[in-house]
Every structure is written in structure tokens, then in C-alpha cells.
Symmetry: C2
Subunit: 333 residues, 2 copies
Amino acid sequence: MNKQLILNERPKGMPDSNTWKLLESPIPDIKDGELLIQNHFISLDPAMRGWMNDSKSYIEPVQLGDLMRAGTIGKVLQSNNKNFQVGQTVMGWSGVQQYTVSNGEGLYPVDDSQLPMQKFLGVLGMPGMTAYFGILQVGKIKEGDVVVVSGAAGAVGSVVGQIAKIKGCYVVGIAGGEEKCKYITNQLGFDAAIDYRSQNIFDAIKETCPKGLDVYFDNVGGEILEAALSRLRKHARIVICGAISQYNNIDDMKGPRNYMSLLVNRATMQGMVVMDYANQYPKAMQEMGGWIMEGKLKSNESIYEGIENFQETFKRLFTGEKLGKLLLKVIDK
Amino acid sequence: MNKQLILNERPKGMPDSNTWKLLESPIPDIKDGELLIQNHFISLDPAMRGWMNDSKSYIEPVQLGDLMRAGTIGKVLQSNNKNFQVGQTVMGWSGVQQYTVSNGEGLYPVDDSQLPMQKFLGVLGMPGMTAYFGILQVGKIKEGDVVVVSGAAGAVGSVVGQIAKIKGCYVVGIAGGEEKCKYITNQLGFDAAIDYRSQNIFDAIKETCPKGLDVYFDNVGGEILEAALSRLRKHARIVICGAISQYNNIDDMKGPRNYMSLLVNRATMQGMVVMDYANQYPKAMQEMGGWIMEGKLKSNESIYEGIENFQETFKRLFTGEKLGKLLLKVIDK
């Protein structure tokens, strides 16, 4: 039997137990040209919250009654498709379910002989690619830049900060709680950490970046974005990657009141969507793989188990109760 | 006697009769290397409101008790400086006064044999330069782009729209009132006009730009910026030039709540300060002069008289009771 999660109701604010419905159905037989994948890990990403709203975005919303969209990694169980062999590891967009029948479209074989497969949903997956292209091509960092990143202990932010360190920047990470702050400075080599839960974010940015900042990589929006705007240096770049503080905020979405700092400082605020860089993924993955092997790029996954626990696990994206990449292991034992 | 206006009190919100004080004092004698200028026109610009706040910006604030800073144009009355001759027209930052003694620093001789001197404070002055560099180098317009500009009947906006037309764009101007809307379409050749006073700005942008917009040149901020953000095309550019709707808004400065449209549309919002382009002014003035001569670039000045009327005239920047460049004629008859 295959267990899958369908979108049952569009959430207002934080998703709850009515948002998704768990269905069970027999695993279908595969036809000519198809293959059957057993999904091992489901990727949980803040962007998924946006896909559940019925509004124009960079991607179609998930429709009510449809399988919940998600990035996945798993192994080929059966194959009638000459491009895929049984036992091969493949990643793609199989959605929140245990088994997927596919014609192979949008599936990528992955060589996980050197690294555990879950890394391909994290540091070598969408979050890693987002960090890589966001900080290098949108943030345009150069040696000596002062770089501030929010969501710094998360799947994207942790990679952003490490790449900036590799490139010779001074890096300040903003995260929630002492444990995460210690993680990014002690384990990942950030120059400084700001705990937004216990510190005044405006004062803390001023203290850690006395001369202001050149690049701010924003995963969170809200007040932290305003604090960063208040400390821009001339020609600063703000990378708009996400706004997790606002995703469940239905009535009172906040814009940065001090955006005129962009004028005063001749600064740029630019949005990015990682899929635009798809044709450059292979080169990026090669470079990132090299950094991982050299020990320059570390990563962590918070792995929870059981497709039944999807909703509870998903909430951790917004409460922050996880470290690095959040994953759900859905393979039956 | 020289009449001059000094900053008497920092305004909260809109400046009033206590903001400035009129002083009268004898015109000083000039020393070696100095010259005496009789100012003809004072430039009134929205940016002046910002210079009156005691806060860090791209330029030092005007101090209490100091002469109010302003761009000016006038003629040399006396000269002990070999670089300037009596009778020459000069522009610079002489401030809100009738006569200025200068050592020549920051003064530029102007050839006004072809055009009335007031044009050098408008279409060929800071507003014209702001429009030129803002729309070409920050907005990066190209043929066929859909360009929307706010404050479209103003000194900057009117030039922005005409340059975009010259470059082959489809141009929509946003202005307040029927007269201004007719002016920009009938006189200046804009493709469409939106009257933000009588129309719903969100609907009107949707109607005039059914496929969205490529460039939004913002002089006003507030709700109009949000409306523009709601209709961005992929890779759109927003030029942040001003936020006149917010300059007197002390308690409740608004940020664009839907700035995440930058992410969805991979768009850029960039601030600019015209002074950064000073070394390119001569080339720009030459090109703009050519367009004026060819009749492709039109401009209007709203000229009021009398230094005593400075405060009342200044308010017109914010009430919108003027067309094109706002000037105060301060020469005694």
C-alpha cells in the first residue's frame, strides 16, 4: 500500500490537522516506459507554505484534492524505463507519498556513493543551490564584504554563511536561541552570531557590524529586514530569498518601513528563485561537493520519521525547532 | 540689502511659518578671489524636506540657524575671481537668498544663450539629470518595455516618461488630477495616464498594463508603490528616486507590504542619488539639449515670485499645486 498526503483545505495562517488528509491506496503497476520509486526522504521547505495559497506566484499553487508537492529522494524499485535501473538513487518532485510511479520526467539520478542521500535534499539540493546562487550571483559578494544572513542555522542560511566565509567575507548570522548561535560560530565558523530571541536586533547588528553591512541575505523578512536596512553601506545588496516570519501572517503582512535606506545608500534589493539557475546546478554541485570533501562546508539535517507526522514536522519550519535541513523519512521498515 | 532664509525649527510633518526665518543684512563686500552673484531662481525640490531632518542621509542635514540649502541660478554682479566674469550666468548651491558671495567652488557657468536660464534648474538641472540616469542606468530600459512613472507631471517624472518614449517604451504616467493627466498624454506624448485622485490605482495599473510592467520609476512611495509591485513582470526593475507621499509622514512611515513580489518576479528595487553621476552630467546635458532642440523633450516650470513666499511655495511640492519644475524667482525688480 502507498500512503500519500493530499491538500484538504487551504490554511489560514499556520497549517493544522485539517490542512492535509492521509490516503492509502494500492501501489499501481508500472506500464511501459515507467518506473516505480520508493521515496526515502521528503524535503520540508518554507516555500511549501506559499504553494498552498491560491494566488499567483512563481509556481502553480497546489490544488485542493491534489497530492502535496514536495522534493524527494528515493530508490528505483521497478523499472520499464531504459534510463533508470533498479536500485538507482533518484531525486525529483514526487510529493508527500511513499511510492511514486513516474515516466522519468523531472527525475535526476544521483551518485550517493560518497555522501548519504539526504545531503542531496539539503546542502546539495534546493537549499544549497539557493544559497550558492543567491549569495554569489545576486549578493555578488567579494573578499572583505560584511555579510549578514538571517535564518543562519537553517538549510539555506547555514550554507550562505559558509560560502561567504570561503570567499573571504566577515559573516554575521542571525538565528533563534543559544544553541543555534553556538552552532554557527563554533561549528560553521561564522564570525559572529545574533540571537534574535534574546537580543535587540537593531543594537546587535550595530555592534557586530560597526561600519555597516555590504550584503544582507534575507530568509525571514519583518523586523529583521528593517534592522538590516538600517545599517546598509553604500551600494549594499539585499538578497530577498524568503520571509518566513510573514508566511503565516495573513492579516498584517509587514513591508520594510525604512526601505528608503535603499535610496540613501544607493542599495539594491533583489528577489531570486533558485529554479532560474537550473542549467548551472551541475557546476555548482561540483564546486560545493569539493568544499564538502575538503571539510569547508558542513551541514546538518534534522530528520523525523513517518508520513503520519508530516504536519507536526512541517510546523518546525516556523517554530524553528530544527537545525539545518528539515527532512521527513517516509520509508517503511 | 540681502534677504535670506534660515532654518529656524525642525518641522514635524509639513513645514509651517515657524520653520524658517527671514533675515535681512547688508550685501558683503567681496575679497580677492571672490565673486558676488545675484540669484534669479531658487529650485524647490522634495529632497529639501529630507535635508531638514536631523538624521543620517546621503548629505548632511541643514543645521538650525543655517541658511536653507537650495540649488540656484543667477548672474555674476561683481568678480575678483579670474574664472568668472560679470554678467555670466552661473548655477550652484547658493541657498535660499538673493545674493551670494562665493569663492567659485561648486559654481558652474551656464550657456543660456539658447534656452531660458530656469531650464537649467529643471529639465537640464538636477531633476533632468535624475530622470536621465535613473531611467537609463538604474531602470535599464530597452525598446518595448512597459514603463510606469509616478509624479509623472513633475520635474523628474515628466522627463522620465519622455526619455522612455524616445527609447521606444510604452509609457504610463501617474499624476494627481485631470489637468496633469491631460498634460502628460496630450503635451508630452505619454501613452496613458492614471489619475490617482479619482481612480483606483491597483485597477488602473492593471487596465493600462494588462501584461504587467517592466520598469516602475517611483517618486512617491506609499500605496502607489504597492500597486506597482503588484503588477511586476519577470526581471522588472523598480527605481527608488523618492517617496514624496511619505516625507511628512512622521508617525506611520509605510513600507511596501507586498515587496515579496520582488522574489516571485525575480525583480530588483534599487535606490539612486543623482550626485553619484556628476562626472557624466556634461554628456547627459548634451544629449538632453539635443532632444529639447528637436522638440522631443518638453518641460514646464511653475514659477512663483518673492523670497517672502518661500514657505507657501514650498508646500506646493506636497499638495501638487504646480506643473513640472517648481521655482521661486527671488530677483528684486
